[in-house]
Symmetry: C2
Subunit: 346 residues, 2 copies
Amino acid sequence: MHTLPPHRRLLLLTEGQLGVFTAKTAASLLRYRAADVVAVLDSAAAGTDVRAAVPWAPPVPIIASVSDAAPLHPDALYVGIAPVGGALPPEMRAHIRAALAAGLDVISGLHEFLADDAELADLAARSGARLFDVRRPPAPRVVASARARDTRCRRVLTVGTDCNVGKMVTALELTAAARRAGRAAEFAATGQTGIMIAGRGVCVDACVADFAAGAIETLVLASADADVCFIEGQGSIGHPGFSPVTLALLHGACPHALVLVHQLGRTHYRAPPFTPLPAWRELIRAYEHTAALVHPARVVGVALNTVGHSDDEARAATAALEAELRLPVQDPVREGCDRLLAAVGA
Amino acid sequence: MHTLPPHRRLLLLTEGQLGVFTAKTAASLLRYRAADVVAVLDSAAAGTDVRAAVPWAPPVPIIASVSDAAPLHPDALYVGIAPVGGALPPEMRAHIRAALAAGLDVISGLHEFLADDAELADLAARSGARLFDVRRPPAPRVVASARARDTRCRRVLTVGTDCNVGKMVTALELTAAARRAGRAAEFAATGQTGIMIAGRGVCVDACVADFAAGAIETLVLASADADVCFIEGQGSIGHPGFSPVTLALLHGACPHALVLVHQLGRTHYRAPPFTPLPAWRELIRAYEHTAALVHPARVVGVALNTVGHSDDEARAATAALEAELRLPVQDPVREGCDRLLAAVGA
């Protein structure tokens, strides 16, 4: 598991890519760590209003260089993108060099590990800055043995119809709602952005296949004494490329309950082979039958991501899906998640 | 994918561990590459009859040192064990050093990569010997996109009730039977021993989770023009630790048919948590429902490993399971696999 220092003055690097989808990590940090962000670093957008690109952002400045950030006293640079392939865009390199030279910690979720880059590691060593590659697999390597079954907390996993539908957001919103209701609730981060928000976690998609479920088991055991642990899902059990990551979560976490997450209007996988998503019934059946081989878990509700739709459209879609599946359906961002929280039995 | 040179004079290293279960890799090479093995290297067993340890072995000598092998003109040393954790036993190191110094290629399936060991790499460089770590993940990293669906060959995957039940043996026996029947049949190796037998393949359990299904897809595409491709299974979809590896195979290979492999008498997982195996129906249901999310595949037969049982016991168990499941059941080693081959529809 990775644990990050408690940075409180973040500089978010998006160089040329600021936007809700293009800089997904930055956009999420602007939502869930709004109070900790002092500026966005993006020379292409410098001086413009951050809320033109990310509607929910706090009114932080967009600056063009690390030196421009000096008056804001940042304590870390967070790489704010999650590109396919996970390579460092060349245009970000100068900013990272400048941050390290200035003594700022740099936190990255790329597949390309910055700490393995001789120039960057040398700059960090000289200034005392620290490099954190949150996607680096944890050591020691652990083979899962279903020990998560024995934890006292209620374990709830978000699962999806596809990648990028809102599994992390659903788990975060459920965690916040449970805390407001007085429960000792933990959020277990399993991806780079979740780790940057929660300050700890493990990137399951970067683990060697033999040890991916073991990494999740270790993570869940660390929250064993909570009342409820909401585990961030990844991928989809029907996704041709990423289903092994999803199953590592299902069998590593041994959840009691599953919340299925879907984006309204999405009919096809957003990545190759771009084929139609499986039917709801088939997907739910596969999740439940596969989970039950290690620990029984039912899909207890659906988190419907209705972004881009009107209130009327969202309401109609929610009602139709509830009637079809006979399960509570809510958009956690638009409507909150009181009914989903009740359904998970925490 | 790894491709090994066509070695024809193998020295099998088992130092102190010669036996069917303790040196599983050597035991399989003694079965499937019997004509290529010139000696077993094991100082603890030197001079004894190899068939006392491995009943099906050819009558090769057991020798105590690499220099004793000189008259046999070996062309490679194959590390013959597959220990949990995958580290190199210290007592094997001197033999590997001697082999490299003598110019022999060394082939290893350990998680600990020999080519990354400075001393061994240096010895190899000086003598011109080559080091092959067949568990090293392939490059480039590929995200699967269900392209295996489009190959013309019939794709058959062996799946298991547990690890170590006979999935590789079943796939090899089916491949041989199909070839005897005049079919252009390929064996796709997905583990270290399978690669050492077939000369090429990929270790799916050592791939990063995001790219494990992609490695299998690449492997299957390489056999696209065969009549039938038998893909070696790994783990079990119900195994708490290794199920992600199994799902990488199920979704990466897009099989048409599944052959379920079980060891007669095994009731519990052989590795932690040592819990009961799932019921047949639940396991078959999970395999089929999960496969169907990418490509439909039915369990068409059961390969029953009856090792250690009498002919009468094997016959009774086979008949009982056939009646229960209404599927053909055969032990490919004891009885051959003509009925399983008919069932896969190749």
